[in-house]
Assembly symmetry: C2
Homo-oligomer: 233 residues x 2
């Protein structure tokens, strides 16, 4: 039962360049707001400028960089309102994903999801504190895929997800212990298991809304970022 997630594998050199550049931006190696000089990156990554250029084009499509014609590209700035907007989109899309998952997931997939949840429960209850970003992402990703909606899947995993991760990493909200979020996950799976589309969507939307509120609160009071109780979604 692997993460089944980073299935996107680079076949061409342009792919590799794109993935590496995206990782370096998301991880903060290249700072938000930084200018992306094609010539400079070309020498730094030891590839032709054309590949850098294509990578930047793809990053622009993901809204990770912004480009102005004849001027250049910059990494997007991370603003609180940008984060809020991102979570509003997530609320809409993942809410719909949960609704569709309740309709279209197979019983086997739901069983797998329950198994995953039990795994997470062990980690949470034993306080092994290993329930963190990876597990949370895995959970959400399965529901997204469970929607069986190509557009939804593409938008979230190609576009939104990396931006969310960028915010998490750079605002220092990764790798937390979560207890309340886990219960919310349980209830969502329960609704999906009951094929209750309406409830599944409602609960997913709440779940993401709560996360957003938590993050907003944390941004407003950046007092004890390591002791907070919930921030993943």
């Amino acid at each position: 039962m692997p993460m089944s997630f980073f299935t996107e594998q680079a076949v061409t050199a342009a792919d590799k360049t794109f993935f590496q550049l995206r990782r370096d931006i998301v991880e903060g190696v290249i700072a938000p707001g930084a200018k992306l000089s094609e010539t400079e990156l070309s020498t730094k990554y030891e590839v032709s400028r054309a590949l850098i250029r294509e990578a930047i084009n793809r990053l622009e499509a993901c809204h990770i960089v912004e480009r102005k014609a004849n001027v250049g590209a910059r990494v997007v700035a991370l603003t609180p309102q940008g984060m809020i907007g991102l979570y509003q989109v997530r609320e809409a899309l993942e809410g719909m994903a949960a609704r569709l998952a309740a309709k279209h997931m197979t019983d086997a997939e739901i069983a797998d999801l329950n198994a995953l949840l039990n795994l997470h429960y062990q980690e949470v209850s034993h306080d092994e504190s290993y329930y963190q970003e990876a597990g949370d992402v895995d959970f959400h990703y399965r529901i997204i895929v469970g929607s069986k909606n190509r557009h939804l899947i593409a938008m979230l995993s190609d576009g939104i997800y990396h931006l969310v991760r960028m915010y998490r990493v750079q605002l220092g909200m990764a790798g937390p212990r979560v207890t309340t979020a886990f219960n919310e996950h349980r209830h969502i799976v329960q609704a999906i298991s009951n094929r209750d589309e309406e409830l599944a969507e409602l609960l997913m939307r709440r779940h993401i809304l709560y996360s957003r509120n938590s993050i907003e609160h944390k941004l407003a009071n950046p007092s004890h970022p390591l002791t907070d109780k919930r921030e993943t979604a």
Copy 2:
């Protein structure tokens, strides 16, 4: 009070190529499922292959074409389930847009929206039958912009909209007379005017759902496509 929509203007030659190629695909000049040979298009459009290549990359980001490495790109196929999936995404995103518009649109913007609606009403009541795709798109676009959410706006107007238009054009559902949809538009604006976020979202979602149902029905019974009463959203 212009359409304010096709504000995206080509500054570079790559932009022009991209716009033209996209238009030719959306309008059906290039058929769904057709292969996009870079060399062939290069001679046909009289630009370098690099520009064609960049245009195809952008079209891939919009999900208008699909590309396989070392093989080539094809225009996406138009399937009923693809259309349904598209409208599910619209329902989620535009529902959220209506909710946010109820919160963030200025009174002036709402007044403008009402004026637009009155304009449409005249056209509908006089049976000048000019209330068609353009007006409908304008209405939806204003609400999307009214959400003031960058991600939402970008996703819908750069990505979803052109796909929807492609379906409309190619399945022969463009340019119809609409009466019931107009009333739905009225109610949505009323909710936004009352700053009723919940209702605005609900009504928008219903509006899009109805449209989807109408189109599904039409796809199942392609009997009198020119006399149908509603198909825009």
